[in-house]
């Protein structure tokens, strides 16, 4: 029998797998501060003093076991961005255009990845000042920050 003449059968499938992912004490503190107080906190390594965002329980760079909490103003500078033109409904939290930004919050040594909103695309540029916009209904999730938008005020580090 000529096997290469078979009509190809292709199954459509979908795996739906429930999980209960533990965020951990450190991530929970960070997300609860966003949820309860609309505040963004970061961790500072007790050894190398690097201020990391997302927060870490221990420092990945000097491998020191302890970090301490510090509160940031929440404002920062756009260091990098991309505008996404395609739409993947199952993934993207909003309709296109979707703009991802990397935001270096004042006082942090690393950048936080998040969405940008309320931005005139003509004026979009690295170095622009941004501030977070929090959702009204917050659940303890990174998307409790709706997005970052242009902020005019310059806040001093640690203020």
């Amino acid at each position: 029998m000529a096997r290469d003449q078979e009509e190809a059968i292709v199954y459509k499938g979908r795996i739906r797998m429930p999980y209960n992912w533990a965020v951990g004490e450190t991530g929970s503190f960070f997300l609860n501060k966003i949820k309860d107080d609309c505040q963004i906190w970061a961790t500072k390594c007790s050894e190398c003093e690097k201020v990391l965002l997302p927060p870490r329980r221990n420092c990945p760079y000097c491998f020191f076991p302890r970090t301490n909490w510090i509160q940031l103003s929440g404002n920062g500078v756009l260091t990098n961005y991309t505008k996404v033109h395609y739409h993947e409904p199952a993934l993207h939290p909003q309709d296109p255009p979707l703009i991802y930004g990397m935001i270096k919050l004042d006082g942090a040594d690393t950048s936080l990845l998040h969405l940008l909103g309320e931005i005139d695309e003509e004026n979009l540029h690295e170095g622009m000042r941004l501030e977070p916009v929090f959702k009204e209904e917050r659940t303890g999730h990174i998307k409790d920050i709706k997005y970052f938008r242009p902020g005019t005020l310059f806040h001093k580090e640690g203020s």
Binding site: D4, A8, V10, G13, I15, W21, V23, G27, L31, L52, L53, P54, P60, T79, N80, Y81, T82, K83, V84, H85, Y86, E88, A90, L91, H92, P93, L98, Y100, M102, K104, T110, S111, L112, L113, H114, L115, E126, H141, I142, K143
Partner: protein
């Protein structure tokens, strides 16, 4: 280093291979690689499989190809597995060879990108707390890296387009390639935007395919198969996981990995000592960036090498004569395909895409978001 590549095989890379399921693809390349090595499955001491559960849509995906690669043959063989790029599978196979416990190792890899949703699968490589919920995937995260690199080093979209034009055209000479195309710079610049600054022709396709490599120690290499290709140096290194922790314009992990490989292979001047490079250009900007980090030119000068034709087939340093990953991207297989192309070049069997006097070659693979980790291999006759 006493590790030789004795046999290689790969499928043609296609957008959709409905006539073979993934295990059947693995059987094809397994038997072809054995034939290429002049060996039978009886002579294989152990096997390393390379697979990923999300791409295969099942758990313990390595188990799905055990029969196909000969693991069940006879009374069963020693098998282990790698979940990552095929270069890391070869690295593991080389380590097993160097352990002295195994004289021959078969390494197989497969991926059928057409069967899953590449955006959702690559989204799942990000952490579930901070990055994944934002919907980031391989294209949008690489777009961030492209912009940061291009801004820092004054690289234009046109500079990157030169890579797409060169490699897609080169793929027309490679019977295994998925997307051989005769593009103009304007074709690339005017192609559909995906995530700025990445456009359709800056991006690799998602391909189906499989590949296999037979490794052996010096004793086997000296008496078996055809002309062995020796693994002279190998280096691998990783960077931080969170994108915001890294300066995406730089790849220190690649710098370290390549220096380690050069040191082992006694390469003092990579541009002079290496005849051909096969690197992981999943996106056009990557070829420029990786060349710089591997020391073929100064930071920011990758565009000059490309525009001057240094990296073209008739240039001093042909890069991706196969057409590269931007022309065929079976995830996981793609790094192994780089090693296979280097082996074919060194054996003088690359036919219409043969680089003249190719004696020493460099193969490169990546893993993770924005190439979080790199593996570099130096191969020679």
């Amino acid at each position: 280093m006493d590790v030789a590549i004795l046999g290689v095989a790969q499928t043609k890379y296609d957008g959709k291979k409905e006539d073979y399921n993934y295990a059947e693809l693995v059987y094809e390349v397994t038997t072809q690689a054995l034939e290429d090595a002049g060996m039978t499955i009886d002579e294989i001491d152990n096997i390393v499989t390379v697979s990923n559960d999300f791409w295969d849509g099942r758990t313990i995906s390595c188990m799905g190809v055990q029969d196909a690669c000969g693991a069940a043959y006879g009374e069963g063989k020693n098998v282990s597995t790698v979940e990552g790029d095929g270069t890391f599978g070869i690295l593991y196979g080389a380590m097993r060879t160097l352990s002295g416990s195994y004289s021959t190792t078969l390494v197989v890899s497969h991926s059928k990108g057409s069967e899953g949703n590449s955006r959702m699968i690559t989204n799942a490589m990000f952490d579930y707390i901070y990055q994944r919920p934002l919907g980031l995937d391989a294209i949008s995260s690489s777009a961030l890296q492209a912009r940061e690199y291009m801004n820092r080093y004054g690289v234009t979209e046109e500079d990157c387009a030169y890579v797409s034009v060169k490699n897609r055209k080169q793929a027309m000479q490679n019977p295994y390639a998925h997307l051989g195309m005769d593009l103009s710079i304007d074709d690339v610049l005017n192609s559909r935007p995906l995530a700025d600054p990445i456009k359709l022709h800056d991006a690799s396709p998602v391909s189906d395919g499989a590949a296999a490599v037979v490794l052996g120690n010096r004793v086997v290499a000296n008496k078996k198969g055809r002309k062995p290709v020796w693994l002279k140096g190998i280096g691998y290194c990783s960077d931080a996981h969170f994108l915001g922790d890294r300066c995406l314009a730089e790849a220190p992990a690649l710098q370290k990995a390549s220096h380690k490989a050069y040191e082992m292979a006694d390469i003092n001047n990579p541009t002079e000592d290496i005849d051909v490079v096969e690197l992981y250009d999943a996106f056009s900007y990557m070829e420029l960036m990786w060349l710089e980090e591997m020391g073929f030119c100064s930071k920011g000068d990758g565009k000059k090498l490309t525009r001057r034709g240094v990296t073209a087939m008739d240039g001093e340093l042909p890069v991706n004569p196969s057409g590269g990953v931007i022309s065929s991207h079976a995830v996981l297989v793609a790094g192994m395909a780089r090693v296979i192309e280097c082996a074919l070049q060194i054996r003088g069997e690359a036919e219409g895409r043969q680089v003249k006097h190719a004696k020493t070659a460099l193969a490169h693979g990546i893993n993770g978001p924005c190439a979080q980790s790199h593996c570099v291999m130096v191969l020679s006759e």
